[in-house]
């Protein structure tokens, strides 16, 4: 069963990040399914028609996102209909819903152009949009593939992720669950603290024994991003017990090799894992951030329920605020500089006292692009750690642009916290 995704919108070709592809890819992956291809195509009818034709030929299930909006450049519905030689009609019920939505949210009359969103392809099932005015559509159709007519399914989903995701969950997922034959499960293990190529050398014996390269039932992949290495493997078969046993065995053996460097799997993030460990240990954490300026706090509170282990933080970007808000000594700043192990330690101690948290982390560094010197280059970061027993600092040399340095700093700080909590437990 081939599933492919077409994301429409000229903005995707001109710099807009496509988060829908990532969202749908990860949902399918969690179901043991996979996308065979993702195509981003602009809002020109000829381009979209061509991609539709090609997708209808080669795939069984075609999902599109975008182009259901009210404006002139939203052409997905009419183009799909044209490609399949089907009529459009204005659905009265949807028209009524759109009008009600406008009365409720905008307290004004419906803009004429929003009426376009009620256009439905003849024969399509309407998919309710709980977070916007554009309905989705599901259509079963026949299309000639390799000389014979095949039954296919097309899903038209809206572009805004907040509308697309719930519709995908309530309409596409149940359909796919009914379609799938055989069992295939995907696993992703997240590793921190080892380089990508070293991870491969370390796990290669395990992969080989599992049939890597020979067996079609086990596939592997390795990927690095912001110092996090993902080991991905998928196991397929007809007997769920055997598939699960293979997965558990692989997890166990990767764990033996990589130990605590594996920090989680699937949807786990360094923030969610650190959060879970804090919760289990009934501990709290606070940050004193300079170069990351709130990113560590934002990461840890990205997890719902984080108020149970995160109370407060201070962002001290300037030297004055490091002294005034965190009690860093003027002498320390003068002697060692704002980017130093000593300052990182005093920052951590400062927020530790101020916040009444069990653990305190600090980060001070040179994120770039400016501010680097031969002695203290861009990418130099100190992370401080304080608890009731002691205060430490750790030195890092990250490379990359400003964004990378800041994100790697957050990851390193969260991983440090994670390892402290694990060490405490054992």
């Amino acid at each position: 069963m081939k599933i492919e995704l077409i994301c429409t919108g000229s903005e995707l070709l001109a710099g807009k990040i496509n988060t829908n592809a990532a969202c749908i890819g990860s949902r399918l992956s969690a179901m043991g399914l996979e996308l065979s291809l993702v195509t981003d195509v602009g809002d020109r009818k000829q381009d979209l028609l061509q991609e539709f034709k090609r997708a209808f030929e080669r795939s069984d299930i075609i999902i599109t996102t975008g182009g259901l909006g009210p404006t002139f450049d939203d052409i997905t519905v009419e183009t799909a209909a044209e490609c399949l030689n089907l009529e459009l009609y204005a659905d009265e019920k949807i028209l009524k819903l759109i009008k009600e939505h406008f009365l409720k949210h905008a307290a004004a009359s419906i803009p004429k152009i929003n009426e376009r969103q009620a256009n439905i392809i003849s024969g399509a099932k309407i998919l309710e949009n709980r977070f916007g005015t554009a309905p989705g559509q599901m259509l079963h159709f026949e299309f000639e593939t390799g000389g014979k007519k095949c039954r296919k399914t097309l899903f038209l989903l809206p572009g805004p992720p907040v509308e697309m995701k719930p519709m995908f969950e309530s309409s596409v997922e149940p359909f796919l669950r009914n379609c799938s034959t055989g069992i295939r499960k995907n696993v992703v293990l997240h590793v921190f603290g080892i380089a990508e190529s070293s991870v491969e050398e370390m796990i290669k014996p395990v992969m080989k024994e599992a049939g890597f390269g020979d067996s079609k039932s086990v596939e592997f992949g390795i990927l690095a991003s912001k110092s996090i290495i993902d080991i991905k493997f998928s196991v397929s078969g007809t007997d769920e017990l055997i598939v699960d046993e293979t997965i558990n065995n692989l997890k166990f053996r990767f764990g033996n090799v990589l130990k605590d460097n594996i920090f989680g799997c699937g949807a786990d993030t360094l923030a969610s894992v650190a959060g879970r460990l804090l919760l289990e240990n009934k501990k709290t954490v606070s940050f004193a951030e300079s170069c990351t300026a709130g990113m560590a706090a934002a990461a840890i509170t990205d997890v719902p329920g984080s108020s149970l282990y995160f109370k407060s933080s201070v962002i001290a970007y300037s030297n004055e605020s490091k002294m005034k808000l965190l009690g860093v000594k003027e002498e320390t700043l003068a002697r060692f500089g704002a980017v130093s192990g000593e300052t990182a330690k005093e920052m951590a101690e400062g927020i530790f006292k101020l916040s009444d948290s069990d653990y305190a982390l600090s980060a001070t560094g040179i994120a770039g692009p400016g501010g680097g010197t031969a002695e203290k280059p861009v990418g130099l970061v100190y992370i401080g750690f304080a608890d009731e027993k002691k205060t430490e600092s750790f030195k890092f040399n990250f490379y990359g642009i400003r964004k990378d340095v800041r994100e790697k700093t957050v990851n390193a700080a969260l991983d440090l916290l994670r390892r402290k909590l694990i060490a405490k437990r054992s």
Copy 2:
């Protein structure tokens, strides 16, 4: 001239966000060029071969990202060579560089698998990788398109954005600049404070007069994300003066209609525009963040040089920290709740005093998924604002998931700051 992008990596089909496509799309857009298509394809040789063939047929310039790494699933080089019937050779100079890199950064011997990265396609030019071990490659070749042989160019770029971007800038951009014929310029205007469909209704007369729908030399698009509406237009022609005049005229007329709701263009963000206005006015800002927990500070410091107008912030997630760090009254929290205009005001006043900033902004709200009630639903957010003259609060009802509510809050706070600075100026 058709330019297309193929991003390789099974992770892109399984949930990983493709930032390379966005980066390359925006760089091309800034040059007045555009991608005709983006395809994300997995690490399977057959799939990649098929996409290569199709891209070589239909496009003039083919750019790939990813698959140059050291591990077994990095197959871009060998697959491109196979598709074009060309040999591979191990480049001695690159091999030496890779060995040196490992000695310098890892202080260990080179892992055997990293040697694969020295494989170069016969006839290709090596593109230096300043931030990693995998070199890029540029290859001119002939390929049959519609029955006749055409000259094409292939760029193989690494997957990690930190390596890809500088290589794109130093190798692909100069090449493209030499290739382009005619003039085409893209403009994106960013709007905040009006709904997408209202924006279209407001600007339609201007678009029509500019030849919207009739003229091929002016194209328009509208896109909404996180309450930000982008109006995109591209103007093409042979005379640069006329192209520029058309652009300036459109900008002027859109400005007349949308006024201060247009906050910037191109690479401007709400954070960079607010930052620029602070700098011009020699003013500083601080935040007291609850529901956004550092995201506003992270956004404003995303801009290099922001230390000139941003000094410090406090993240007060719990009620205790709102009282202790910001001086919010216990009585206020008890009577109105943490999510209220009154608390937002006291938070803003608290950070205003503590930080010695000229402006203070606060945010307190219910980001969800939990914590909502009938009276105070998920998405309810209060933003506080304080300066030397007065303190105000503003109420918002955002919809969307946790991430959306938090990001929309940050955008609303930055826009509020921007409007205050504009009002001050006039």
